[in-house]
Amino acid sequence: MAATPTARVPTVNDLRVKLCYICREEESAEDPQQGPARAWTHPCNCTLIAHEQCLLKWIQASQGNAARAPNALKCPQCGTEYEMTSDEPVLLRVMTVSNRILQKLGRYFSVFAAAGVFAVVGTSIYICLTGYGAWALQNFIGKELYDQLLTDDPVNWPWSAWINLPLIPISLILSRFQPTPSVHSLLVPLLIVWPPSPPVGAHAKRIYEYWLSPENANKLPKMRFQRPALWPPPPVAFGLFVVPFIKAFYRIAYRRVYKRVLGTAMPLRTRNGVPPGGLRFNEGPFVIRIRANVEEDNNAPQQGQGRRGGNGQALQPPPPPLIDLDDEPQNNPQNAANAADQPQDPNAEVVEAAEQLIEINASSLGRRVAGALLIPAISNLMGSLLYRLSKHSRFLRAFLGIRRYGSSKGGGVGLGAPPSFWSLNPWGRYGLKREWEEMSPMQVFLNSTKMILATWFGGSTTWMGADPVWWRNCVGFGLFVAAKDALQLLHLWLAKKELESRKVKDKDFAGVDIRELDLLPEFFAGREGLRRVATI
């Protein structure tokens, strides 16, 4: 039967055998059909055909899948788009669209809500830090200066205070966790900002008005001829240049005293502040371990090795679960072997053991942090202690630079005290407007540079005019640190002595069966002798 060419284009129903590419079922047009007739469709440009129901199911499934949805309506082989019709009343379209819009809005909301939560938490932390910073500053520089430079009302605070104050508690806490002593804390630079800062608030206004009045302005020339005071030292210069020296010197002195008292050099890990295995804190039911990047001191490798061995052995608390903040390799058996290999100075061993005994009870994260946060209060306490003591000692009074007793109301404006050498009283030397106008540009430049430097290094007039609380607080805190270290050495020394003096009580074999003991023959001879003596 020859196929007659027709002008009609064939459709799916003209096929002899129809094969659905989805369910792979065949339907032959010539054979009788079993079951109900199923609609066929040829939806694209290639030769793939399918049952309409199978194709619809496939489209539905791929539209539901997020990865396949964009391609759901395309033929997998030729890529032609399927054309679909459906009853989609306006109401359905409106609902779908509004559903999508609501979905998007919901997503925006969750993002904003999360951001909002973070912002709230961050802000409250910031407020706490700033509040603490203000309290710490008040303790460091004294109430009088605090009322002039900062005041209790945040409205008066200069913009730099909002950055400086919250950093104070952070720097205090970090300074207790220094891995190497060469990294200096942030605290001193933070505090150095305050001496040069100008007075704020009501006090500033008062100063301004004071000097405006003509009778006070006339006092200015007289001030030029007063002899300035050299002590207390300029705060900024002191903090930047002298404090590091004092720190280094103190550290060397401490090491020497340690060696003298305990008879052995200071162990490596205490020297660096952090044991080689990382910091370890016993917080009751659990242990926190912090791994820091510690540079081992190469001068004493021998001791260092022994240190690590001892460390691994003694500091293994068996029951509590470990919270490792970092991966920790289990190298304890190896360390124990190390400790056994290295010949150890027995004294060093004892000191090591003493330190570890103390360490087990001392290490707690909360203790370090709380200690750090108490530093301003401690220095304030020491300062006021020194203040009270100075009333009885003239040397102390001169050393601390205390010029007057009893709180001053005006503070800083009064002319009773001689101006500090280090602070340039701008009105005192170059204040008068006439002088400024008479100077050549070069002189103006030089003099203004001098003024700026003097204010920076010496501190503002307000600072220098006030009672130098900061100086005695500083000195007091230094004394406190020295006393604390002395106490620590004493503790260590006593612990060492205790370890050395330990003896175990020796008992005789009273309750033990004599037959189980491998005794010397002399013992039996002695017993015979005793019996003979007893019977006499």
């Binding site: 989805i22 792979r24 290639c46 499934a61 082989q77």
Partner: protein, 178 residues
């Protein structure tokens, strides 16, 4: 409608038994309509010459609307081939098993595609994130969301090639660029 999967798989099985598998692919086990096993070997000159791997297909009642879960078997001493798209736990990163699956493909087509994927490999290496993936991978590879960057094109060429073998498509539809 679970029988759609059963009917289709029965049909495919009949075809395999009557026409046989392509070279390098043999049916190991097809006892039920939930799990089938094949061995796959790359013929000719390739990095995997002489190596035989076992491929496992798992079907759910929605096959072929849903794709089968395909992975290399790594139990009983068997290993997955070392290929940039094959993880050491046997999971395969292939677009035809994911968002490019369509009912036009079949079990044999997938085997052939994977065969050509292995054959076209230039360097034997594991995927870059192999260790991390193997540690956190779900048991069923279909649960993983693979990203197919730059791999899609290479696979679609071979899919087209197979489609050519089974049905005719106009010449201009063939793409040759990879």
């Amino acid at each position: 409608m679970a029988s759609i999967a059963a009917r289709r798989l029965a049909k495919e099985l009949r075809e395999i038994q009557s026409e046989g598998c392509p070279v390098g692919i043999t049916l190991l086990q097809a006892d039920d309509f939930s799990k089938w096993l094949f061995t796959i070997e790359v013929m000719g000159d390739s990095l995997y010459q002489g190596e035989v791997y076992t491929l496992q297909f798992r079907f759910d009642p929605q096959y072929p609307i849903s794709s089968p879960a395909v992975q290399f078997v790594v139990t009983d001493g068997k290993q997955a081939p070392i290929h940039p798209h094959v993880y050491s736990n046997g999971h395969i990163c292939a677009s035809i098993l994911g968002n490019e699956w369509s009912p036009v493909l079949s079990v044999v087509a997938v085997c052939v595609t994977l065969q050509s994927m292995l054959a076209s490999c230039k360097k034997k290496e594991r995927p870059v994130d192999n260790d991390r993936y193997v540690r956190t991978a779900p048991e069923n590879p279909k649960k993983t969301l693979f990203h197919y960057d730059g791999k899609r094109k290479a696979l679609s060429v071979s899919v087209y090639a197979n489609a050519v073998r089974s049905q005719t498509i106009p010449q201009e539809e063939l793409t040759t660029d990879v």
